[in-house]
Symmetry: C2
Subunit: 429 residues, 2 copies
């Protein structure tokens, strides 16, 4: 553990005030770590109630953000993501209620044994301590992540998008007031939004004060955090997601799964971006698969062989293969073999999710074994890579890294473990 | 995942050659990931045999290191750590045999279920891919870590201490030759020692080519890696380890445990550095505990109250409290309460291991719950924080961080997981 001495190049930034906030969050971890599930649930219940009770004030604060956003020329899409109304505020409160219903991961024994000398060892789940979250302009993340952090016994330091600053400030106030009433220190929830851009930079350097940092948002945001942070980061991720249509693929499944994976919700990370089809199946499958996509307004970026079979397409570029479009665009290529498909995935995938549609058992097993992604699938839609779908009940994010958590993360992924050793005077021989 | 473009400020360094080595290691992960335990064990058997068969050449190469070390004025202790003889080479081979005996963690199903729609999901252990290791001048680490990496299906890129360069080069040659004979690509084991200091720097920047980096060695080395690396790091750690003698501590246990924790092997990270005693027990415990330590040649660094009780001591400094001495030195302080002891630990501990000696159940439980360290103990020697003692069979290191692994690491901690999803045409509603 490295003692942290925060420094800033900016003369205007009050680094001492920033550090005080982080130390207050750290101090709040002491009672939080030992809080019972009942105490944490009572605090969450207060949050849910307070959000509903303060709906009017929240909407007023949100109106300031919307007004500033319109003045700054924010797109209609971004303004929509930012906007809160009565209905969305009820959804915020319900999201907190959902977290109340989740089992508390803290205290679970994950392993344990009695050593030959009689010493008992037990590995138990404990909170991380202080979780930092850097995210973009969606006020619902403020509430979601605070609720998930508290339920898993963590203090949380939030750095939200500037566009949602007024909404977030008020939401944090409401949350802090609510948990204090339930006997959890208000300082367990902090925002560093008032420190602006530099606040995010300082947060990334706060090793020893912040135990883990989770960026949520664009690929650019995540990359910046991953590259700049000395605090350990859980990378949640961009998805350049592939579906491979093997020689033996069932046409009906191919059409349904590709369409579902591309069209059902194109703006999310588990939506498919690239379809690779075996050359022996291209004539059989591409017309029906791509016609279905076109009917839903998808633009097909095709390589030369795919274009020949499906002329209603534009040329795919090398950049397309590497891009998470998050839109109604799909890249399509014809490959000579399963090896070539796997090689393409190895080159361009962000190691999020890949699926193969096949009736060939050997190819299915090879794909599952050789593709190095967080989630690998056979004959299923990539849209299933989701904490809710996996039955975790919570949406902490989808990790595309290999340390600590990989794939959809539930509440247990917001905890670490400690070893508890109980002896009766034993020493090592 | 960030595509890596390695860059170096040094004109003399052949960055392209460096990158080729890493890409070769990455390519070797493909067959390694799917290698069976039998194949990996056969390769390990060849390594063990080859080390014994090549003992003469290894000792010759080691003699070059020793000669250079003597010329450079290395201390007797460092020369001893560096030296290999017939007996130590047999120990190297036996360490590989021990790894053969360990169960293969790859392929273990850690969780799984069938979703309501019939899709089956399964979380299985898979290798990281490429593990980078940066360590200091102990040639045994070269063999140990290569064996552990291979057994867990990982390729490994080694950056050893310059003082052991000739020994390491030959050991890597021997290992590469041995595994190639067993059908595992030689490129699964790489050294980048020939790139010197800059090689380590490049390794820390090789995000996307190296999946995880493990520094092993001094606190300074570990801190450098943790602060400079963009590759995810598993921090194995320095131990400023505490023992608290509570008011009710059994004197016999206190003497035995403190003595064992300090004297049995003072140069390791689980040795105790600081003893804190409750003021109500100081008169009763300190004389016998510290007399026993003095008899074993320990220098006692005492605070004012401890010095009054045990005058055969020198003053403790603030730096002492924060120092991992790794020598026959111990810092001793008297505290007014358990709270003060916990507060002291919170301030100075490296969160490795802390133990309390007590007969008071409430204080024991408070200590276990409130001390935020990888291993917390009651009435046991801190020397038990060890993979071997915990029954893991392997010594990968002791993690002092909270992500991925915490405390003693066994072979499973050298793996990640992936989710395998099997459907029959399911799409998301």
């Amino acid at each position: 553990m490295t003692p942290t001495v925060l420094q800033s190049a900016s003369a205007t930034l009050d680094v001492a005030a920033f550090e005080r906030k982080l130390r207050a969050a750290k101090a709040a971890t002491v009672p939080l770590t030992t809080a019972t599930a009942a105490q944490k649930n009572a605090a969450l219940r207060r949050i849910s109630d307070a959000i509903l009770a303060d709906a009017g004030r929240i909407i007023e604060a949100n109106a300031e953000d919307l007004e500033r956003g319109r003045a700054n020329g924010l797109s209609a899409g971004l303004l929509d993501r930012l906007a809160l109304d009565e209905r969305r505020i009820m959804a915020l409160a319900h999201a907190v209620d959902d977290v109340i219903a989740l089992p508390d991961p803290v205290g679970t024994t994950t392993r344990g044994s009695r050593l030959p000398n009689g010493v008992s060892i037990q590995q138990v789940r404990v909170p991380f301590g202080v979780v930092g979250v850097i995210y973009e302009a969606r006020p619902n993340v403020t509430v979601d992540i605070a609720a998930l952090a508290l339920k898993s016994g963590n203090a949380v330091v939030l750095r939200g998008g500037r566009a949602a600053e007024s909404s977030n400030r008020l939401l944090v106030d409401v949350i802090r007031g609510a948990i204090a009433e339930a006997g959890i220190p208000a300082d367990a929830v902090q925002t560093v939004d008032e420190f602006g851009r530099e606040g995010g930079t300082l947060l990334m350097q706060a090793r020893g004060l912040v135990d883990v940092l989770i960026p949520r948002g664009s690929a650019q945001l995540i990359r910046t955090v991953v590259e700049s942070s000395t605090v350990p980061v859980i990378e949640t991720g961009a998805g350049v997601v592939h579906i491979v249509l093997d020689e033996s693929a069932n046409e009906h499944w191919a059409v349904d799964i590709v369409r579902n994976a591309k069209v059902q919700r194109p703006s999310v990370c588990n939506a498919v971006e690239t379809v690779l089809v075996h050359k022996a199946a291209a004539q059989r499958l591409l017309p029906s698969v791509l016609t279905a996509l076109r009917a839903d307004g998808v633009t097909v970026h095709a390589d030369a062989r795919a274009h020949e079979i499906f002329p209603d397409s534009i040329p795919v570029t090398d950049e397309d293969w590497a891009t998470e479009h998050m839109s109604l665009d799909v890249s399509v290529g014809v490959v000579d073999s399963l090896d070539e498909a796997i090689e393409h995935i190895r080159r361009y995938s962000t190691q999020h999710t890949e699926s193969i549609i096949t009736d060939d058992l050997g190819n299915a097993e090879r794909f599952l074994a050789e593709v190095d992604s967080a989630v690998v699938m056979v004959n299923a839609s990539t849209r299933f890579t989701d904490g809710g779908e996996f039955g975790f009940g919570a949406e902490v994010g989808i990790s595309t890294q290999k340390l600590h958590a990989r794939g959809p993360m539930g509440l247990p992924e917001l905890t670490t473990t400690k070893w508890i050793v109980r002896g009766s005077g034993q020493i090592r021989e």
